[in-house]
Symmetry: C2
Subunit: 351 residues, 2 copies
């Protein structure tokens, strides 16, 4: 397992009480695609005008035009979204990674031996240099200690509580307020046009399900993610699912195409990502016939958010990035790159 | 892996062109639960009056009554159905098992060595006694030879074609016509009352997805089943998912509760099964709070269908059955047993 995957597993399973993020009314309750098309421009107010916004609108017009050659019946309208770095902030570390580290600190009093045992020692001492060198085995131990050995219900509750109180180190806001407003608008715009929107994340399925409905309007059954194995047991005569310290499925890279086939069983017509972990999802989507929309979010706005990835000479970092190779593939295959700096009029609801 | 599971894996992944089974119009397109309740009796015309039919109607009334204590918001209304023996005939062998045996016969000319190699030799010679003694390893070899080594698209096509032509040995009809009409009515009745209906089968997920929408009105993303591993590959520059001769997930027994949590992420309010493989699904459903409906189909009608299972002194068989232990648990936990003989006015649409 690659380091990134292990990191993502550390980010498995949950978030919570989540501030209500402008989900008060589904953007459009239109009865006909034609009407939806006419109002399309109004549905994406946080996007700057330009070819990227136009690509979204054109795609929706094509697949909803009953008389056109690219018409797609509503039942087949599937759109998949990566989460970390595509729908919300993933710097300086995935929220779920932050959760794992916080859990180590919280559980430390029950484990006095951690003070002298790696990888816990580095985490507890806040030794950033040492933490940057954690191995796969180290992360697996952190995950086992923080994400397993409890029932699914207990884990969801812990995740909910963490999300309610944790704050992002730079923005000093709950992680659930670090969702990209323009992407929320795309999700609602697609749903208003008959699409089912799915989150397809390398992060933990259970973790994302805690807040997916409230934050994104995506119900649990439309969250596809990485998972650990569970065991069916009885506690006081009542069945529970016990979380085991064992990876079951990694929904990243090729796993995203496999996961889409496994969980959805239909090929998406639109897919959104931001890193190499999304490459196969976009390829799988693009390999279908007819009109398809593949988009990549480029993080090129250090003032309002972050800048990372080698495209346009931006510095590389260890987490999800739009690499040069991915940029080249996007160009070759006609995928659309979203520049956060140029295309997002507003990034967060509170900005 | 148990013999039954291997058998079910042999039954993995598909069915096809499927005769249109009275799905012309969704039974009720009612706008309010109250209206749906008023018409409830009309929604289940193939059920005889009695406590079993009444249990279904009462449950729906309770969970849709906004002013009642057991009200369930529409988004949480999940109902899960086992397939083989619960929604359609599973005797004398699961349709997918029949498919595996037919595939061996079809592929035999390309494998002259099969004439002298077990387990293929027994299948090709039609030696029923030998076939009844096939081991787990034997079945795994049959599965590998018939269900793997091809892309998902190729498999779906093969499955579709088989379903279009295969006939049940006793009824001499396509398997897709051997669906229980009363159960179709329950599915439609629940959907008309805001439920999402899922198939949760020990059989192959891909196999059932081929015909699930046409036969049951259940789309691919609402079919949870057993699966084999797939690998993301490129063929002529285009990505494909190659089916590997390796089990990925067994959605049976405890796997049904695990699969429901994994794929749906919500606990069902209603669950329907017919055998020990459904026990944990019903337990998991019943362990939730509020009004829940757990039902078991008892096969006690040898004239119109089959009779098997030790309940009421019926003979046991090797496939799914309502065993004495399950019958006892049903009694203890308040699960409702459906007698096909007493409760089904009509079993098949063509009867």
């Amino acid at each position: 397992m690659k380091r990134k995957n292990v990191l993502r597993i550390a980010v498995l399973f949950f978030i919570g009480t989540c501030a209500a993020l402008a989900l008060s009314t589904p953007a459009l309750a239109l009865s006909t695609p034609a009407l939806a098309q006419a109002k399309a421009q109004d549905s994406l107010p946080s996007w700057n005008e330009g070819p990227v916004k136009q690509a979204i609108v054109s795609f929706v017009q094509k697949v909803t035009d009953k008389s056109g050659p690219a018409y797609v019946p509503p039942a087949e309208r599937i759109a998949t979204f990566d989460q970390d770095g595509t729908l919300w902030v993933e710097q300086p570390l995935y929220a779920q990674g932050m959760f794992a580290l916080d859990r180590v600190r919280e559980l430390a009093p029950q484990h006095p031996e951690w003070k002298t045992t790696e990888p816990f020692k580095s985490v507890l001492s806040g030794d950033q240099a040492a933490m940057a060198k954690l191995t796969e085995q180290d992360w697996q131990r952190l995950i086992a200690a923080t994400h397993a050995g409890m029932t699914t219900e207990a884990f969801l509750q812990i995740a909910r509580e963490w999300l309610a109180h944790a704050r992002h180190p730079r923005f000093q806001r709950p992680y659930t307020e670090l969702v990209y407003q323009p992407m929320l608008e795309v999700m609602r715009y697609l749903r208003a046009n008959g699409f089912k929107t799915y989150i397809v994340t390398g992060g933990g399925q259970e973790f994302v399900r805690v807040y997916g409905e409230q934050i994104y309007g995506v119900p649990p059954e439309q969250v596809v993610g990485s998972s650990i194995a569970t065991r069916y047991e009885y506690q006081n005569g009542k069945p529970v699912l016990m979380r085991l310290p064992k990876v079951f499925f990694i929904d990243d890279h090729a796993g995203k195409a496999i996961g889409i086939n496994l969980f959805i069983g239909r090929r998406p017509y639109a897919a959104f990502g931001n890193s190499g972990g999304d490459r196969e999802m976009l390829e799988w989507t693009g390999a279908g016939g007819g009109a398809r929309l593949m988009m990549l979010v480029l993080h090129d706005d250090p003032e309002r958010e972050y800048a990372y990835g080698p495209a346009e000479g931006l510095p590389d970092t260890r987490v999800g990035k739009l690499s040069q190779a991915l940029w080249d593939e996007a160009t070759k295959r006609g995928w659309v790159v979203i520049s956060m700096k140029k295309d997002f009029k507003r990034i967060f609801t509170w900005q």
